[in-house]
Structures are given as structure tokens and as C-alpha cells.
Symmetry: C2
Subunit: 308 residues, 2 copies
């Protein structure tokens, strides 16, 4: 077992809720290098030969297993670009825990761009969990630009559970999902920004196959002078169903922009979008304060509930 | 009283629901020329000297009066651009009935671009009704590109009731509204397209003043191979409230795109957006057909109810 330093362990605890252990199928990328890795009976991880990154092969007998592939960057001034490809075989049932944490104690920008591509075969069920987190006493910014490309085969199910907890100065997220007949997409996005942070979330959901469906729930909190831009798109090219819901709380001098796009190109495409931006619920605040909480504590509870 | 020809009378009946009579304050523009016009005690209409169009002065004592300013284009191949400015004095209460109808029996494009600017002083209440309509046995296209710019003074109220009934081959609508403190905007938009028609509706609502509010309801039906694009924007720069709702029915091989944008730049800006695109309600169809209606009749009833 590879011995990990304290900073890496601390960051891992933030980005991997279920706990990172060096068992089963796993790969820990640290400052651009695979620090440790393991395969399981049904899941094999191979280093790419042509560019940085790994190929993850999940066979059809995988049933309920987890793969953990966290990334930690703690070298100030580093730009780490990685390409990870997931090949999920017909009928597999798998949970993939990704996530990236940056610890920047220097004065230069630390940046991680993870480009993840999922090739999901028919009847497979994938749960993909990613957490983004930044910390560090340095003045260097922490930048995360994840790109997630998902191809869903017939009757497959993909759940994208993505969260940016805190400490990320700048992020531009791209999620593109292409759905074949009968496939289902569930997206849960949580985003919190503070200070002068900026976050852009772009999502393109292409409902190509008959009977495909997508349900997207995005919740965000913008504090301080931070700025958030949401640009989810759902395009229905067949009999399909999509529901996009974005709710944001703004605080202080923050700014939130929501620019969804719903596009029906087929008479049996049914697409719904709902978005709301507003301040924190005053009645809840008052209620919690009468219970003895400070304003800050009460806000904390409301935000936690809103995001979870 | 000016005698009007049959085509003009027929088109007027389509675009002016309350009935166009040559009394009170009115101005009928026909193929780029004011065919007849009249003032009332409180409302004066003056021809612009520097460009085509009129200035309409509505004084503060106006209370419940209507002004009718329809436009008819029946010369094939004509492009008519007109600039109308409305000066609504403090406390006035007025209904403005505009609207444009094109009768094109030729093979060339007939087009009308009406650029309307409203200067609404405080406490005034304006109801602005516009209908757009095209007809004619010719192969020439009928194009309408209305631009409406509205400046709302303190505590004023503006209701925009806009409808495109049928027969308009191509339209790009621009509505820009700027709201000062306490002012209120209500928009009701109805749009129906058929054949190979194309319609784009852009709207920008800028909530500048404290306590300003906007409520926008847009309903559309896209038939045949027609295409519709909606792009409503609501920007809150103060304590304000906005609700944007867009519902569309698609039929046949039509295509509808809805790209709203809500942008909160103030902690007390509350903005909500809802959009839905879907096919005609099947249950209602079946119910009406069991009552003896043909499929076409049943669809007609459902569409009429949806739009009204």
C-alpha cells in the first residue's frame, strides 16, 4: 500500500465521501502522476499510451462495484490535463467516484482539466459522482475545468451527481450527453461560490432515441461578489421527455444568470424548464433565529438544506 | 370621412378587434401614407418632419380613451418603415390599438417594420394592443418586424397585448422594456405559425427601479414545418420581481426553441422562469372527438382555448 501525505489524505476526505481506500479498482492521480492503482476482477484500469490519462474497462458482470479515481493537485503553478475514458459493457451496474481537490499554498495558478468520456453500452447502469474542491493558504488561484462527454446506449441509465463544495476560484464545466432509445439521464448539480469566484456550467442534453428521458436538477448558492452562469440545453429529436430545473439563492453582492435552452424538434418531444433565482427565505431565517441561532448559523442551515 | 376600399376594410377588421372608426384620435397608415387621421381633446397626433411616422401626445387628463393607429400594406413589393413615438403624460390612462395587416396578391415581398417608442411618465397606465396578420393569394412573402421600446416612469403600468394571428411568413420581434421604481409590466404574447413560416421573438426586460415588477406570459402554436424561437430576458438590478412563462404546442413537423435568460444582479431580485414545449393534449382531443367533432375541429377548439 502506498503511503499518502497528510495534505493528500485531507483533500481526499473532502472529495471522496465514501472513503478512498487502496482496494478494489482505483487510481489516485497526484500532481499529474498515478500515485497508486489497482484492478478488480471485473474492472481493469490501463494507462493511456498516447496522452495523459487512463482507460477504465468495466465488464458486463460488474454488479454494484465502486471505482475510485480521485485527483489531487497540491503543486502550486501546475496545470494538469487528463483524459479518462470509461468503457462500460452491456448490463454492467457500477458506481464511479471521481472528484478533484486542489491544495494551493503558493502564489501561482493551480489548474486541473479532467476530460472524461463515457461509452455506456445498452442496459448498463452508471452512477458517476464527482466533487470539486479547493483549499490552501496561498494567493494562487484554483481552477477546475471538467469536461464530461457521455454516450448512452439503448435502455441504459446514467446518474451524474456533481458538486462544487468550495474553494474553487474559477470553473467552466461542460457536460454533453447523447441519449439513445430508452436511455435515462439523471443529473443532480450542486454549486456554491463565494468571494470573487466565477463559475460557468454548460450542459447539452441531446435526446436522440425514442423514449429517452432526462431529468436535471441544479441548485446553487452564490455568496460574496461571486458570479454564476448556467446554460443548460435540452434538444428533443424524437419522442422523449426532459425536465430541467435550476434554483439559485443569491446573497451579498453576488450575481446569477440562468440561460436555459429547450428545443423541440419532434412533435412528441415534451420538454419543460423551470428556473428561479431569489434571496434566502426570510421566514426560515427568522424562525431559526428565534430558536437561538446566529444569523450566520441560520443561513448555514438553510443553505445546507437547500443544497441537499 | 375618408372612403376605404374593401381590402383595407377587411384587413382592418382582422387587426382591430374593437373596430376602426374615423373618430376620436386615430391614424390609418396605408402603403406608407397617412390615409386619414384625427385628434381628440386630450390626444394629438403629429406627422414627423424628419422621418416617416407620427408623434402621439397623450396628455395627463386622458382617462380611458382609445387611440387607433392601424397599418395596412396591400402593395406587393413594398417595404414600409415607420417610426411612431408615444408621449404619455403623468397620470394618463389610455388604450392604444395598433396592429399591422399585409395583403399581398403579388409575387414580391411586402414588408412592414414598425418601430414604436413609448415614453411613459409616472403614474400613467397604458394598454397597448397590437395584432399582426397576413393574407393574399400572391406568392410574395409577408414580413413584419416590429420593434417596441418602452420606458416606464415611476409607478406606471404598461400592458403589452401582442398577437400574431396568421399569414405572416417571417417575423423578428424586438421588445425592450426599462422599468423605473414601482412600475409594472404585463406582457401577453400569442403567436401562431403554419406552413414554412418563421418567427423570432426577442424580449429584454430591465428591472432598474426598486419595487418594479414584470409578468410575461407567452403562448404559441407551431404547425406544419414552421419554426419559432423565443428569447425572453429579464434582468433584475434592484429589489424587483419577474415571472416569465412560455408555453408552446408543436404539431406536424414544426420546431420550437425557447432560450430564456434570467439574470439577478441584486440580492433582492426574485426572478422565475417556466417554459414547456409539448404536443396537443391527447385526452382533450379524444373527448372532443367522441362529442362528434372531426380531428381538425377538435384541434381548432383546443388551440383556441390554449391561446385565449
Amino acid at each position: 500500500m502506498t503511503l499518502l501525505d497528510k495534505i493528500t489524505e485531507k483533500v481526499l476526505a473532502q472529495i471522496d465521501d465514501t472513503g478512498f481506500t487502496q482496494s478494489g479498482a482505483f487510481n489516485l492521480r497526484h500532481n499529474g502522476i498515478a500515485l497508486c492503482h489497482g484492478d478488480s476482477e471485473h474492472i481493469k484500469i490501463k494507462k493511456k499510451q498516447d496522452k495523459p490519462g487512463i482507460d477504465i474497462f468495466i465488464d458486463g458482470k460488474t454488479d454494484g462495484e465502486e471505482v475510485h479515481i480521485p485527483v489531487v493537485v497540491d503543486a502550486s503553478g501546475m496545470t494538469d490535463v487528463v483524459y479518462n475514458d470509461f468503457y462500460v459493457a452491456e448490463g454492467a451496474n457500477v458506481t464511479i467516484v471521481a472528484g478533484c481537490g486542489i491544495h494551493n499554498s503558493g502564489c501561482n495558478e493551480s489548474r486541473h482539466d479532467g476530460i472524461h468520456t463515457f461509452h455506456v453500452e445498452k442496459n448498463a447502469n452508471v452512477r458517476y459522482v464527482e466533487k470539486h474542491y479547493g483549499e490552501g493558504e496561498g494567493t494562487g488561484t484554483r481552477v477546475l475545468n471538467p469536461v464530461t462527454e457521455v454516450y448512452l446506449g439503448k435502455n441504459s441509465v446514467f446518474t451524474l451527481d456533481t458538486a462544487q463544495i468550495k474553494g474553487v476560484d474559477s470553473t467552466v464545466r461542460e457536460n454533453n450527453v447523447h441519449l439513445e432509445a430508452g436511455s435515462k439521464l439523471y443529473v443532480i448539480e450542486k454549486l456554491m461560490t463565494h468571494g470573487k469566484q466565477e463559475a460557468t456550467s454548460n450542459m447539452m442534453v441531446e435526446l436522440l432515441g425514442e423514449g429517452s428521458s432526462a431529468q436535471i436538477v441544479s441548485r446553487s448558492v452564490a455568496k460574496g461578489e461571486s458570479r454564476q452562469i448556467f446554460h443548460p440545453r435540452a434538444v428533443g429529436k424524437n419522442r422523449c421527455h426532459a425536465h430541467v430545473q435550476c434554483d439559485s439563492i443569491i446573497m451579498d453582492h453576488a450575481e446569477v444568470s440562468s440561460i436555459p435552452e429547450i428545443n423541440a424538434k419532434h412533435v412528441d418531444a415534451a420538454i419543460i424548464h423551470e428556473a428561479a433565482i431569489g434571496r434566502i427565505n426570510d421566514e426560515q431565517l427568522i424562525k431559526l433565529r428565534t430558536l437561538g441561532m446566529t444569523e450566520e448559523e441560520a443561513e448555514g442551515v438553510i443553505i445546507e438544506n437547500f443544497l441537499n
